[in-house]
């Protein structure tokens, strides 16, 4: 370590503490949805979690969501508005289920919410998110993936299916598979499709749904997730490393674009830090972007070349 003791500067440079990273400044493009009741277990005061019930997807749209204010910046979420028959009353009921879909630094919702629009070159939704689990469960039950076309999630509108709650997979050190209250975190997945949106014959069983009790705070017994005979396929990368690499690559591509297609390695952190504002993984991503091995190996997949000093966009 070299220590250079310096005299106090004659004229100190002006400075101002930057505001805390605030993705929250971004206006919500799906504000009306955010006013609906949340099914997030953390927000429950009474009632219960939708579980083991037949539902009709009234609409599926991407939106920004801040877990009803419980996190400091909104994330991308898939909001699935569903109609079902309340087994307690036998009357029609509606609910919204939010499935987190990753950071807004990778994708933002389109104006109409039907698409997730890539930011900085991201290719696909993060594989381990609840939204990915939900979509995978729909596909696993026979929904043709090509029906999503260019990524239009409204293709699910009108789907009639059965959902069950299953335990969320653990996702590395930061996400433990528990809610903040210590309960097992669960996610509502499609376990059977009764009718595709484009089908007309109605064969939907009536009733059959139940509401599992909401977790009551203060109890020492963790609520176990209901078991299902069929569950969604596990995410291919539970640790999220692949997602992190993809996110880092997207950031680097954006930096390259801002810098005219070429950037020296030491300028990558300053060039990317603003793009990472509010990103909980920014330190991990910064370290990836400083890693010669990553810069050298990932370039072939994402379109850049690294000579040990400079990263250049591939021709």
């Amino acid at each position: 370590m070299a220590i250079q003791k310096k005299a106090p500067p004659a004229s100190a440079r002006p400075a101002q503490r930057a505001a805390a990273p605030a993705g929250a400044a971004r206006p919500n493009s799906h504000g009306a949805v955010q006013q609906y009741a949340s099914l997030n277990p953390e927000d429950y005061t009474q009632g219960g979690l939708l579980d083991d019930v037949d539902v009709t997807v009234a609409s599926a749209r991407f939106c920004e969501w801040d877990y009803n204010g419980s996190i400091d910046h909104p994330v991308l979420a898939l909001c699935v508005s569903i109609d079902y028959t309340d087994p307690a009353t036998g009357k029609p009921a509606q609910a919204d289920q939010y499935y987190s879909a990753g950071e807004l630094s990778r994708f933002i919702p389109s104006d109409d919410g039907t698409h997730a629009v890539a930011v900085a070159g991201a290719k696909g939704l993060a594989g381990g998110t609840n939204a990915a689990l939900f979509l995978q469960s729909v596909i696993d039950q026979g929904f043709p993936v090509d029906r999503f076309g260019d990524g239009d999630v409204s293709a699910l509108d009108g789907l009639v299916a059965h959902i069950n709650r299953v335990a969320q997979p653990k996702r590395g050190a930061q996400i433990t598979g528990k809610t903040q209250s210590g309960y097992d975190a669960t996610v509502a997945l499609v376990t059977k499709i009764h009718r595709m949106p484009w089908e007309t014959a109605s064969t939907v069983p009536k009733g059959g749904g139940r509401l599992s009790p909401a977790p009551s705070r203060g109890t020492s017994t963790a609520r176990s997730a209901p078991t299902t005979s069929r569950t969604a396929a596990p995410p291919q990368d539970p640790s999220g490393d692949a997602d992190m690499r993809e996110e880092a690559a997207g950031i680097l591509l954006a930096v390259l674009q801002n810098k005219g297609g070429k950037v020296i390695k030491t300028s990558i952190p300053p060039g990317s830090f603003k793009l990472l504002a509010g990103n909980p993984n920014r330190s991990e991503i910064l370290n990836l972007l400083a890693d010669d091995e990553f810069l050298g190996e990932a370039g072939a997949d994402y379109g850049w070349e690294f000579d040990g000093q400079t990263v250049s966009a591939s021709a």
Binding site: M1, I3, K5, P14, A15, A18, A173, P269, S283, N287
Partner: protein, 201 residues
């Protein structure tokens, strides 16, 4: 003259500390360093904060608040000396960062030269060398460098009692430069200790 002693007020209430999010759990850079000191360098003298008595916590809080106040003073001084908002993008308060499961909150980052900015206030003598007498500062700074992928830092120290001789209070800024190996070895030490305590996987 009439002297009326007012109710005592902790330094903590005088120093305006900007609120920031702090992740729960013990896996914070400062906690890990304290734990290493308690286990190796000063056995039993750096107990976990939660194990301190009420008086010890208050005393520690007053010292800590002195550091916060120092940071506030420097910041205001720098802003007043120059263009203020015109330079708002240069000095960033990055907030809490997380790497390998360990959290840390650097004071500032100078985006112009990608240099960590740290503020310290101490009642120890300025005649002491940074290394090894302020070992915990250097470990902390190297950890933040790792988190921000930078290799140098500006350390602005306010020695409240100077050199305990004729100096009076002293302000000494330093520029610290580290090798990548120093930063990586330091991070291995921290993650290794945190892992051994079961704080990270």
């Amino acid at each position: 003259m009439k002297v009326v002693e007012l109710d005592p007020e902790n330094l903590e209430s005088l120093a305006v500390r900007q609120g920031g999010y702090r992740s729960p759990g013990p896996a914070h850079v400062s906690n890990v360093i304290r734990s290493i000191e308690n286990a190796v360098l000063k056995p039993g003298q750096r107990r976990p904060y939660d194990e301190l008595t009420k008086d010890e916590k208050r005393r520690m809080g007053n010292y800590t608040s002195g550091g916060w106040a120092w940071e506030e003073i420097i910041r205001e001084g720098i802003v007043r000396a120059g263009g203020g908002p015109l330079y708002g993008d240069r000095f960033i308060s990055p907030g809490e960062l997380t790497l390998d499961g360990i959290h840390g909150t650097p004071d500032w980052l100078d985006a112009a030269d990608w240099c960590l900015e740290e503020f310290k206030c101490t009642w120890r003598s300025s005649s002491r060398p940074l290394d090894p007498d302020f070992w915990h500062w250097l470990v902390q700074i190297k950890a933040y460098c790792k988190m921000l992928t930078c290799q140098w830092a500006r350390l602005r120290v306010f020695y409240v009692n100077g050199d305990y001789r004729e100096s009076g209070p002293q302000y000494r800024p330093y520029r610290l430069e580290f090798t990548k190996l120093e930063i990586d070895d330091n991070w291995k030490m921290l993650t290794g200790h945190a892992r051994s305590k079961g704080w990270i996987k």
